[in-house]
Amino acid sequence: MWTFLVQGVFQGAVYGLLAVGLVLVYKGTRVFNFAQGEFGSVAAFVTWGLLLHTAVPYLVAFVGGLLAAVAMGLLVERAVVRPLFAASRLILLVATVGVALLAIALTVLAAQPQARVLPPAVAGEPITVAGASVLPQQILVLVALAAVAAGLAGFFRTDLGLAVLAVSQDPVATRVVGINPVMLSRVIWGLAAGLGGLAGLLQAPVGIFTPGFMTATTLLPAFAAAVLGGMTSLPGAFAGGVAIGVAQNLGIYLLGQQLAVPGAAELTVFGLLLAVLLVRPQGLLGKAA
């Protein structure tokens, strides 16, 4: 059981990375972005394709994947979010669902539906952390999460970062003081897509990956993490990610392993999501609505 909990922390780091992107987009543009997972899937497939078809070093392929995710984020912002910005938030949600389905279809088209293997960024045998066997790649995810947290904390002290915070609190006033909301929307979507790409690139080598793998396995836990953190709180999203990872693995151990309930992972996430929304809808670190 201890192994499950430790593994949960590392799995939770991926949820946290994805959740931060969800929170950024929600804070900045009030959109629930169901395509956030696909930024990660697409990045993983681009990196995989670059390694397969070209002789570029891993780092270049990795950056190529990240850039592809950012480009996709900017494209979604321009082609879907901006034309629909005046529509109801529910319609925008359905539109991002459409984007996710489209991205999955295009990945299948480009790379076939088979499962693929991406070499890890850091190779090596599993090592023992706190009594549990962990891949070096998984430790990298945790390091990346910490680095992103520090990086974002720094970003929000810059003028651009402050503008993003401002638009999330009062879009009209931000516009009045002369900050271009279109530019900010681009920054937010590009940044969130980059973070989603990072999450996908770090998660893919942990096992095998298929088209849409991030949407199928990590999007919902990441949303649960964001909701648990308060949906508008970045530290909440980081902490929520780890908490959901641990709780989900606890559920897999107790329900799946001990009681042989099928779908224990999904069941646990559903239960957690419902519990948070019913008991404390503003989340742990969010402001009361």
Binding site: L90, L93, G263, E266, L267, F270, L278
Partner: protein
């Protein structure tokens, strides 16, 4: 911000039923009767002329139309999104299969119990979701659908696990021809139900409810009750469609009800135009046929574009679906229903063209 209720003119809140201010001339009446008759014939005649393959497809199109109308009750009428509709359709399918195959219950009993099970499951989710609104409800329903898919539908004793559950057809509707007429008849009943629903007190309550829950409450609308009613009715139709689907394919398995199909069902209701019965039915039929007919057309086409191969055929339907969705949302927010509006007005005795703009669908928040 999410709940901003823009001021709306009365016309966009409830499109006034077209009234016959001036009695129509005989020619006008005749023309309308001929067109209505042609539409009815276009639905009722093809099963007779078609082979078994197309009879099955027509049946599936009718089943999808019932699913589309089920999504429409919840999302279109009551303004509550459901991304987990596969839970309700699936429970209906497995219940009907279990009752008719394992317990040897009669077909009507199995189908009715399946519909009731769908209603009960949706009612339970509705109870849990009473305090959850808008975007968060989307999340909860998505998680609920995924959970049903991985937990409930993989419960071996109930669904037969990976092997699937058998769902035999009774002799009376055993042939594909008879089954397609059964599905069309059920669709007709569901359309009738929906038509009555929007014209009752509940229908008027839904109008206010989807506009703004707080406003609805101040107007004395029983928000809790009508929300639950929408969930239960939607689950009832979904369970019914699930049962029809089970006996249509005769073997059902958990894979038939994955989360992508639930997303397609939402897409088809939106593309059809929420609250437009004709639009939803047409779009649902289109989405039911797309995965089989499109690859067939491409394979049969005399000119084969060089880049098309087997893999492309499987990807094209979701691709077409999503492109249609995005185009609908951006260019024609009212969906197919908005495009059909002039025809509908004309059939009801009005003019084909009027100055009034079409009501905006998809404004439910």
């Amino acid at each position: 911000m999410a709940a901003t209720a823009a001021p709306r003119s009365p016309a966009t809140i409830a499109p006034a039923p077209p009234t016959l201010a001036v009695p129509l001339p005989l020619a006008g009446l005749l023309a309308r009767a001929v067109v209505a008759g042609l539409v009815a014939a276009a639905v009722l005649v093809p099963p007779l002329l078609a082979g078994s393959v197309w009879q099955q497809r027509i049946a599936l199109a009718a089943i999808y139309a019932v699913i589309g109308l089920s999504v429409n009750v919840l999302t279109g009428h009551a303004g509550q999104i459901s991304l987990g509709h596969q839970a309700f359709v699936g429970i209906g399918a497995f219940t009907s299969a279990y009752l008719s195959f394992r317990l040897a219950a009669g077909f009507p009993v199995a189908v009715l119990v399946a519909a009731a099970t769908g209603a009960a499951l949706a009612g339970v989710l509705g109870l849990a979701a009473l305090r959850i609104r808008g975007l968060y409800l989307a999340l909860v329903t998505l998680a609920f659908g995924l959970t049903a898919e991985t937990t409930l539908f993989n419960w071996r004793a109930f669904t037969g696990g990976g092997a699937g559950a058998e769902a035999p057809r009774p002799a009376l509707v055993g042939t594909d021809l008879r089954y397609s007429y059964l599905c069309l008849a059920v669709l007709g009943l569901v359309l009738l139900l929906d038509w009555r629903l929007v014209r009752t007190k509940a229908g008027r309550a839904f109008v206010v409810l989807r506009g703004d829950e707080r406003v609805a409450a101040t107007l004395g609308v029983n928000v809790t009750g009508y929300k639950l009613l929408a969930f239960v009715l939607s689950g009832l139709l979904a369970g019914l469609a699930g049962a029809l689907f089970a006996h249509w394919s005769q073997v059902v398995q958990a894979l038939d009800f994955d989360f992508q199909i639930a997303l397609v069902w939402v897409v088809m209701a939106v593309v059809g135009g929420l609250r437009s019965r004709a639009g939803v039915v047409l779009a649902s039929a289109f989405f039911a046929l797309l995965p089989t007919v499109l690859p067939e057309l491409l394979t049969a086409s005399p000119v084969q574009p060089p880049f098309l191969n087997e893999a492309v055929y499987h990807v094209l339907p979701p691709f077409v679906a999503v492109v249609l969705l995005l185009l609908t949302l951006i260019l024609v927010p009212g969906g197919v229903g908005q495009l059909l509006l002039p025809v509908r007005r004309w059939l009801a005795g009005g003019r084909l063209r009027t100055g009034r703009s079409a009501p905006q669908a998809g404004d439910g928040g």
